[in-house]
């Protein structure tokens, strides 16, 4: 076969290669990096969607800046859009109309920018959930998890500021709510608001300032964080799911060159195509229908971008019962807790979770094999509880729409969501944990007896049995991973002489032991399981020594 010999590199390519290598000594590094292996699994592309959406945001954002005028000075619109001719508005709003109705492709690029932002945050969230549920945040990847949480929080703020720029009616209302939350901050709130807005609301400074943050500072920080995220990932390599040959020592997958580069390239185009297709056929943020911002008007049924929905919902749900004052000075918990507290809870909780879990379990090992969520029921349950909490807040952000759609009293929806916010996560935790434990039991049964084939056989004695068949070696490998996944049991805290170990003493030590017990107590034991033992009665020696 002709392709059995490595072909000679073309002269031009050799020339370029030598030119670069003469200056940077890169041949070895380049080969090493082009040989980098990416595990084959669909869930690893979620982060890719986020990365590609971000690239699309940068490209389309640059296009929009060519015409957008971030100014709040007043103008009377004289552009092409007839229905608003002669209406007083800000330059920002007028230039957004210009992009929509006077720049060819402007509407499309605006919609691509908006859809890409929605998908950017959505894919961040789903990617983060994948990392959470599979324990991919564990040592040595905690730092990259923290960077991810920072990217998530900045992305939301970046989105809010971008949404505010066109100065249409809903976006101005978003800014007003932002200012209302600032004002509620004790002692410094009014100062923050006056500095941010250059005086009273709305002033003429806020849009130029948000513009600077939106196109320069925040994207710069995001770009740096995304680069750091990527470099760390590259350096530490991906986690991988359990399977044949996949161990803590070696990763199996498609190498960067030529396989993954082409695969990822194709996926970039798919992502771009999906966002462009949405922008072509699904209208988003039609600011020309909303009209310019005035501080005196509002329409009902307004919905923020989806990632702000949970804040909107928390502001609606949280009652004023806990507002108090200190010597006449107001502490507006009804705004502070839902406006800032829940956000702090979300991002703070995400940020400390890897460290909290490592502290509870005392697990100091490095992990490259991702956990199957069922094998870590408490973590999976906590994740489900978190999703439920977030989901209830998010739904509550559209309680007026729900109330209208389902003909329920508005105040009743508020109460339903208030109760669901407390009960929902608890139920989600219990149910999810039970499901995980059930799946663990089934895994154990499958491992021991093979899978149910659906074939019923009559034994000579007249008894009917269902024939169990032997699972594939791959399945056995995956099921066996339960033996080492997550954190199975609490190590003894008392040594052979009955002396309590130092780590188990004191309040924190005792708390830790109790939490570790709670974390592991219900796990199904896989210790003594021999694959298909009941089926064949033969002892298999699995060479899993390399794994732990």
């Amino acid at each position: 076969m002709s392709d059995n010999q490595a072909p000679q590199a073309p002269k031009a390519l050799r020339g370029i290669g030598n030119y670069i290598d003469d200056r940077f000594h890169l041949a070895k590094t380049a080969e090493k990096n082009l040989r980098k292996v990416f595990p084959n699994h669909w869930s690893f592309m979620l982060g890719e969607i986020a990365l590609y959406s971000f690239i699309i945001l940068l490209l389309t954002g640059v296009f929009l800046t060519l015409w957008f005028n971030p100014s709040m000075s007043h103008t009377v619109y004289e552009g092409s859009y007839e229905r608003l001719r002669g209406v007083e508005m800000s330059e920002a709003y007028a230039s957004t109309l210009h992009i929509t109705f006077d720049v060819r492709g402007g509407l499309l690029v605006r919609q691509i920018h908006h859809w890409a932002a929605l998908i950017f945050v959505a894919s961040l969230v789903v990617h983060m959930l994948r990392v959470f549920f599979t324990g991919a945040f564990r040592k040595p990847r905690e730092i990259n998890w923290l960077i991810g949480v920072a990217i998530f929080s900045i992305a939301i703020v970046e989105g809010l500021f971008g949404y505010s720029l066109p100065d249409d009616l809903p976006s101005g209302m978003g800014v007003r709510i932002f200012q209302g939350v600032l004002l509620a901050i004790p002692v410094i709130g009014t100062y923050l608001s006056f500095f941010m807005f250059g005086g009273e609301f709305p002033g003429e400074a806020i849009i130029p300032r948000l513009y600077m943050l939106h196109i320069l500072l925040l994207p710069g920080i995001l770009l740096a964080l995304i680069a750091a995220h990527f470099i760390i990932l590259w350096y530490q390599k991906h986690t991988q799911y359990p399977g044949p040959r996949r161990t803590e020592k070696q990763v199996i997958g498609t190498p960067m060159f030529p396989g993954f580069a082409l695969k990822a390239g194709g996926f970039f185009f798919f992502t771009f195509a999906a966002i462009t297709g949405l922008s072509a056929f699904v209208q988003i943020n039609p600011i020309h229908l909303f009209g310019p911002f005035t501080p005196t008007s509002i329409t009902s049924g307004l919905q923020p971008d989806w990632y702000m929905g949970f804040l909107e919902g928390s502001l609606r749900l949280f009652p004023d019962w806990f507002d108090f004052d200190i010597g006449g000075y107001a502490v507006v918990t009804g705004v502070l807790v839902p406006g800032l507290g829940f956000m702090g809870l979300l991002f703070g909780g995400l940020a400390i979770y890897p460290f909290l879990e490592a502290w509870i379990t005392g697990d100091k090992r490095a992990h490259n094999i991702a956990d199957r969520p069922r094998n870590v029921p408490v973590r999976t349950g906590l994740g489900a509880a978190g999703i439920t909490f977030y989901g209830v807040l998010w739904l509550a952000g559209s309680n007026d729409i729900l109330s209208h759609t389902f003909q329920i009293s508005l105040f009743a929806t508020t109460w339903i969501f208030r109760i669901a916010l407390i009960v929902g996560p608890i139920l989600a935790f219990i149910i999810t944990k039970r499901i995980c434990l059930g799946l663990q039991r089934r895994d154990r049964a499958t491992l021991e007896h093979g899978y149910e084939s659906g074939t019923i056989t009559q034994l000579p004695g007249g008894e009917f049995i269902e024939v169990h068949k032997e699972s594939s070696p791959e399945t056995v490998e995956v099921l066996q991973s339960a033996k080492y996944q997550g954190f199975r049991t609490v190590p003894p805290t008392v040594d052979a002489n009955g002396v309590e170990s130092p780590a188990a003493r004191g309040f924190l030590g005792k708390l830790r032991i109790r939490l570790a017990h709670w974390y592991t107590k219900d796990n199904v034991s896989f210790e003594d399981v021999v694959p298909h033992s009941a089926l064949h009665g033969e002892q298999r020696t699995e060479e899993k020594a390399g794994q732990h």
Binding site: K32, R35, S80, E82, T100, D102, R104, G105, L107, L108, Q111, R176, Q179, G180, L183, T190, F194, M196, G199, E200, F201, P202, K237, P244, E248, K249, Q250, I252, G253, P255, L262, K263, F267, F270, F272, A273, A274, T276, G277, Q283, H288, P295, T296, S297, I298, T299, E312, R316, P319, D320, G328, A330, V332, V335, D400, F411, T414, S472, P473, E474
Partner: protein
């Protein structure tokens, strides 16, 4: 360090990979299937599942077809671009919203098709022409060896010792001291971002004698213009009718005017609050005391004012007290009276600071 270890690791685990079904086992020609023509690629043959030539050939044709579609769609994109001119001289122009929608669908549709086709072509290329890879690569051992660590530690501490930062504290402390003013400079430099709040949040432009005008017009209002059960949005009459009110003035001064049967006023209204009304007409700030949206919805049978943002609900018949939702303070009331000609005028500023509650909202200056 990872360059050559690939091969060794692969050798060790070779017996495990052969015969292991892959997701596409049926279409793959593994090294085992065709031992007579061992594949020579960049990666070990056992880790590279080469597709049969027939599959590759079909893949090539399919991918090229997609690339051709992408090319045509790309041409279509330019056609749609020039089909719809930007200004209204030509027809059809994107200045017309409906045409803009069509232009958007054609531009976006062709672009999406072009992008999708490139993605599809590349994916077919990967899945039909390229081998399926199960290449192994070792994870790096993360902690350095004890020798490396102690060597580094020793080197670093010797360097630190030599620099003097350890044994010359004066040097260390004065450098830190020198940094303090520079560190504060950026904070100080931001001082001019805005004025100090002072009492600006506590007063509005309403004065005794300011005429109430209907928002959006500059028409003064007579008490008898209002029908019972009605609610309108009003602003103070601007000093300069040419330019109207600034956004800031509108944002703080916007007021709702509600007319109801005077007998409907409940016990929540103090004697003074009743004196601030005129013949069943009561005026409240339109700015919600929660986070500042316009509380614009009014239900006349229950006299309830609802803010559509977070659904704070106020009772207009009882001093706009909060009856539901997250707001804590009632909407401030604007005292009103009629002048000699029967026009509604303010009798002073609002009874309390307007808008979202802030730290010193309840404190008199």
């Amino acid at each position: 360090m990872t360059d050559n270890t690939n091969h060794n690791d692969a050798d060790k685990s070779r017996e495990r990979v052969i015969g292991t079904p892959t997701s596409e086992g049926a279409t793959l020609a593994t090294a085992e299937d065709a031992p007579h023509r061992r594949h020579e690629g960049p990666y070990p043959a056992e880790e590279t599942h080469v597709r049969p030539e027939e599959v590759q050939r079909r893949g090539e044709r399919m991918a090229s077809l997609w690339f051709l579609v992408a090319f045509l769609a790309g041409i279509g994109f330019f056609v749609s671009y020039f089909m719809f001119p930007a200004n209204s001289d030509g027809t059809p122009s994107i200045a017309d919203p409906e045409t803009a929608q069509w232009a958007n669908m054609l531009l976006g549709g062709t672009l999406a098709l072009a992008l999708f086709s490139i993605g599809a072509g590349m994916t077919v290329w990967v899945r039909r022409v390229l081998p399926h890879y199960e290449v192994s690569s070792p994870y790096d051992e993360l902690p350095s060896s004890e020798e490396e660590k102690s060597s580094f530690s020793e080197f670093f501490m010797r360097g630190a010792q030599e620099s003097g930062i350890l044994k010359r504290p004066l040097l260390r402390r004065t450098l830190l001291l020198a940094m303090v003013p520079l560190g504060l400079a950026p904070v100080v430099l931001l001082r001019d971002m805005g004025p100090l709040p002072g009492d600006k949040l506590k007063r509005t432009i309403w004065r005794d004698g300011t005429y109430l005008v209907v928002e959006g017009t500059n028409r003064r209002i007579r008490a008898e213009d209002l029908v019972p059960g009605s609610m309108i949005s009003v602003l103070p009459e601007p000093d300069d009718p040419e330019h109207g009110l600034s956004m800031n003035d509108q944002a703080e001064a916007v007021t709702i005017l509600i007319k109801m049967d005077p007998k409907d006023f409940g016990p929540g209204m103090s004697q003074q609050q009743l004196e601030w009304t005129h013949d069943g007409i009561v005026a409240y700030s339109k700015v919600c005391t929660h986070v500042g949206c316009p509380a614009a919805l009014y239900e006349q049978t229950t006299h309830r004012i609802l803010c559509p943002c977070h659904q704070s609900t106020f009772d207009a018949a009882n001093g706009a007290a909060v009856v539901f939702g997250p707001a804590h303070r009632p909407l401030p009331q604007l005292p009103i009276r009629v002048d000699e000609e029967g026009y509604l005028v303010a009798a002073g500023d609002f009874s309390a600071p307007v808008g979202p509650t802030f730290w010193d909202a309840g404190v008199e200056d």
